[in-house]
Amino acid sequence: MIVTEGLGKRFGELQAVDNLSLRVHAGEVFGFLGPNGAGKTTTVRMLSALIGPTSGKAWVAGCEVGRQDGELRRKVGILTESPGLYDRLSAERNLEFFARLYEVADVAGQVERYLRLLGLWDRRHEPVGGFSKGMRQKLAIARAMLHEPQVVFLDEPTSALDPEAARLVREFVAELKHEGRAIFLCTHNLDEADRLCDRVAVFRTRLLALDTPAALRRQLFGRSVVFHLRAMEASFAERLRALPAVQSVQVVDRKLVVGLEDPESANPQLIRTLVEAGADIQFVGELRRTLEDVYLKLVEMPGGRATT
């Protein structure tokens, strides 16, 4: 659905996006993560044919960026960083206007469908100027979907939403994925990205890493098992370090954090060793690294790393 090959954008002296190559498939939620000013918005603008690339090529929904822009815009939906709605017009009138520009066949039907889906039908006649931030965001999402795009670009879709509305939007995004659309999601909410995205790219002017969240966690941090003990003794850590399967051991209060290549195979031996050393094991669990850990490590890493 989205293919980029060495895509780049330069504004005068500033290289905003450099040599971006990626593929996003139909039915995939793709997280595009990066700090402010990393070039995420510029990338989305290039892929939605709002601005042209200065190097490389890109295809979105089968249309080449820069050559088939009109057709491309018919096939993509975009939720911009700011909802950008006409405050003096009603919710219904806002959507009708965009539906007509997108040449939607059944304007009234589509407007009603998305207003109902996003819980705004009862407020459809009210001027948008009086809407809360959450309602405005939901209306902007409805606007991005009116023409049933194959590819959807969502920039911070749940920002400014209360937990209930954010959940509704997340469920909505999941539904879009099941309908076979490609979702390109820019977000700073890494927990949300972890839950929603099939793959994520960490980006800062150029691609730092690209893989599934689980694979990135493994690649960057390996796997760790935590042993909660009733009491800690220095000899426990030494006994574990002597085992060949153990990569690292950290002592945190009454916990032992053990880095392992393959916990499923190594754990029985580790437990035996600790019990033989006199440890009282209260609890054993895998230390879950978050996507935030992955993101921060990549962004702070000089030069980053690129994996696909």
């Binding site: 950008g84 006409y86 206007f97 520009l101």
Partner: protein, 263 residues
């Protein structure tokens, strides 16, 4: 064409909900139509000026009074002063509408979603431009019609009534007026690319009336005589100016320019 119509309807339904815009669009034609009629009425209609003769008029103007009585010539001189003020309408109304339509869209950040639709740059600019130009032309023409009817009802001389249909007036109202409106919108687009507040845009774009005011004072002081030839030259000059301004406005109104260079 369909999308241009969609944009025009949206612009009108939004912009005319703004009281300031509505006030400008409604008040200016009312004022500029009522003022000359009231003054003509005060002057007393046909024969109200008594013994005024063409010799009392500036010599250059008296030549235009062929076939008119002295009183009619005086009324015609007075009414001709207002012709230039009539031209304020096609200049000021589009500036006000375009300022709120384009800069307003910029300040509420609605331009990016709009530019993401399959609408072409020309359709977008034409829609926004026509939404500003058409009310101005409509208001000018309607005001002129009301003025012409008012002049008849006030019972001024038949010679003066006939003069309102001469080439100078027709050229001014039906050709120069629309050309001024196009120039005004193009100027407003240029201003919009550098300003973030609709009122600031309106005030800056309002500078477009300066040449017209210079012409007005030139005529009042007798330095310039408004006649068919001058109005024709104005039309030709505006045609050339509009072509240049429009080309520049189209250049400025490209998606990439708007998103990356408009500040």
């Amino acid at each position: 064409m369909h999308k241009i119509g969609v944009i025009i309807r949206k612009e009108w339904s939004e912009v005319f909900k703004n009281r300031l815009v509505l006030g400008t669009v409604g008040f200016m034609p009312l004022l500029l139509t009522a003022m000359p009629l009231v003054l003509l009425r005060v002057m007393g209609g046909e024969g109200g000026l008594g013994e005024v003769g063409t010799a009392d008029m500036p010599a250059s103007f008296a030549r235009l009074c062929e076939g008119l009585s002295g009183a009619e010539c005086a009324q015609y001189f007075f009414v001709t002063e207002f012709l230039l003020l009539y031209m304020l309408m096609p200049l000021m109304i589009p500036v006000t509408i375009a300022a709120y339509s384009i800069v307003g869209e910029k300040s509420t950040r609605t331009l990016e979603p709009l530019l993401a639709t399959p609408v072409t740059t020309i359709e977008l600019l034409a829609g926004k431009g026509l939404a500003a130009v058409l009310p101005a032309i409509g208001a000018t023409w309607l005001s002129f019609a009301v003025f012409a009817i008012g002049v008849r009802l006030l019972g001024v001389g038949p010679g003066l009534v006939a003069k309102l249909g001469d080439p100078m007036w027709l050229l001014a109202i039906f050709i120069v007026g629309p050309l001024l409106a196009v120039a005004s919108v193009s100027f407003a687009v240029m201003i919009s690319s550098r300003v973030n507040e609709p009122r600031a845009a309106e005030q800056l774009a309002g500078l477009v009336v300066l040449p017209l005011l210079a012409l007005f004072f030139g005529q009042v002081s007798g330095l310039i005589l408004l006649n068919s030839r001058l109005v024709l030259w104005m039309a030709v000059g505006l045609l050339v100016l509009d072509s240049g301004l429009l080309a520049f406005a189209v250049q400025l109104f490209q998606r990439e320019s708007i998103l990356t260079r408009w500040k």
